[in-house]
Amino acid sequence: MAIRRMRAGVKSRSDRRNQSGTAIVAALVVVTVVSVLSMAYLQLSMSKNREQRSSVDAKRAFYIAEAGLAEAYAGLVAGKSGNVGNGTIPARFANGAFWVESVDEGDGRRTLTSTGMCGTGRSALSVVVENVPEPVGALGVFGDQGLFVGEGVLIDGYDSRRGTYGSQHPVVVGGGGGGGGGLLGGVGGLVGGLAGSEEGPAESRVGCNADIVLPGGLAATHIDGDAQPGPGSSVLRGLGVTITGTTAPRTKSAELPVLDVPSLPLAGDIDHSTVRTPLVLSPQESSFGALRVRAGASAVIVGPAKLVFGSLQLDLNATLTIDATNGPVDLYVSDYLNMAAGSTYNSTSHDPTGVSLLIAASQSIDRNRDGIPEPPARIQSSGTFYGSVYAPAAALTLPSQLELFGAVAAKQLTIGNGAKLHFDRALCAPQNGDGALPQMLCWRLVELPDVPLVQMRLDPLSVMELNGITPTVSKDAHYDNGDDPLAGVVGVVLRVIQGSK
């Protein structure tokens, strides 16, 4: 009995010993499976997170690269080279960095390549921009093959966008120097300052692709602004000539674009001689073989109008008035312009940007059969004209009786004694989409450059921080023309430090 009990006790202990641990095996299996599932789920979440972060970084890098292009473009407009930062020390922007390389492609074209970096994202974009030449009016008072400025001439500037000429030029009481009028008398005679203008009066621009000749004389000649001759040419000036700005030669010649005379519906010839009734021309766009306003008669051209004349003649005491109050007036003269002495040429609007006299005439022809060829363009009128005069193929003389507010450019330009020209800087501004701002020709994605900061695919700001490099803020990272963006960074080696994100 005791033996049986003892055996039973041994068996019971043995069974318990055999059973112990079976629960933990099952528990371990369950825990393992749950752990594996949890790990897989964690991996999935992390993978999803990485994928999303990578996608966001790529997009941010793209937009930072676009911001780089915009920054470089702004630099170009401000006269910089277009280089911003460099591959070793990029410019900082938001939570990333970029740099822009600018390559001169010739013909006024430039390729800007911007590389943007943010986190692990990288993007490289490229645009080609083209410098659009300034409007012809921006040349100011300009002669292509020669510029002669007579005695007692006043050439100054103003900006019609800021107000009238009178509001930007000081009132003169008394006057100092002789000859050229009280306005030229020097600062001692100025009273009242610059009424209606916070800034000083705008300066004029006088230029030429050859020499500028100012013989001077008893009457003072005054140029308030620059007078720049062509490359290698000079300003030849005599006594009594004042030029307040630079007389340094231009770095390159300015090209006067050929005048493209538009083809407009033909409306015949007009020979107006009725003295009592003025001729009013108000067609929007027309072409006339000839317009002749006979002695004592008058004609008014009302804008908006674009008119082409084969010949335009004003006889003695004839008057031509341009009314651009309601719209711009563009007058093209293709063969012959003659505004005789004693005639009057006026404009009612005081906005020089609204009136253009565009002279395509170029041939000297004996038209009155007196054996002497007449020049293609002759302006001997008196009056006050607001607008721009452009004669790229003809010599032009502006008489002293005509006061011009605006700009004038001709093949050869002579400014008669005592003439007054007031250059309007508003003519420098882009007009009709033709502006001085660089235009984008093409945009494209390009391959990433082979630069350590790009290839290592780490957060660029962290890498730079770990290497002791402080990136410059983008607006301060521009390089001037002629500066080498890589000067000073040659030999800088970025270390990749373990643990950098």
């Binding site: 789920y41 074209r109 080609v128």
Partner: protein, 184 residues
């Protein structure tokens, strides 16, 4: 007996938990894959279209019409002083091997054609849309395909639906859209 019953109960519960977890995991994986596919494909389309010349998007209609095919060219930069246009490219939704594929092709329909499949899991129609001549999903488009392009001024609206079957046979769909302004 009681111990065996309890053990069976526990094992059954564990099995059910594991089964549900596995299903959920599979479903999440499919959702993740669908989202990833949709985002990647849409990013690739957007990057291709952003450099396109606006004038070359000649087959892109305006709403309520849309097209599953976009033909365009991109700029290659300056060459010999002139801006060089690249080869014609096409992004389209097509049926092949039983899949609705989004494909990109360079020089399409020529001997020099280069082709790449960007996804095989596009839906035939955009999410919520069926072929019935009506605007079922209320997005202003009628019977639009799983990939469709709509011209909006200088921009192109790209909409994409990715449809994938999960392990339990249910369809997982993800729809994304991007509005891309052509830079050229």
């Amino acid at each position: 007996m009681i111990a065996i019953a309890l053990l069976g109960l526990v094992i059954g519960n564990v099995y059910m938990v594991l089964g549900d977890s596995s299903k959920a995991f599979g479903s999440q994986t499919t959702v993740f894959e669908a989202e990833t596919q949709a985002r990647r494909t849409l990013d690739r389309i957007a990057l291709a279209v952003v450099g396109a010349s606006r004038d070359t998007l000649f087959q892109t209609p305006s709403a309520p019409a849309s097209t599953p095919e976009l033909n365009f060219t991109t700029s290659q930069g300056l060459q010999d002083g002139a801006v060089l246009e690249g080869n014609p490219q096409r992004i389209t939704l097509s049926n092949a091997d039983g899949y609705h594929q989004v494909t990109w092709a360079e020089n399409p329909d020529t001997e020099t054609e280069r082709k790449s499949v960007w996804t095989k899991f596009a839906a035939e129609f955009l999410e919520g849309e069926t072929l019935n001549g009506d605007d079922d999903n209320g997005n202003g488009l009628i019977d639009e395909k799983g990939l469709n392009f709509v011209l909006e001024g200088n921009s192109v609206l790209v909409q994409l639906t990715i449809a994938r079957k999960s392990a339990d046979g249910a369809w997982i769909t993800r729809t994304l859209e991007a509005r891309v302004t052509c830079r050229n």
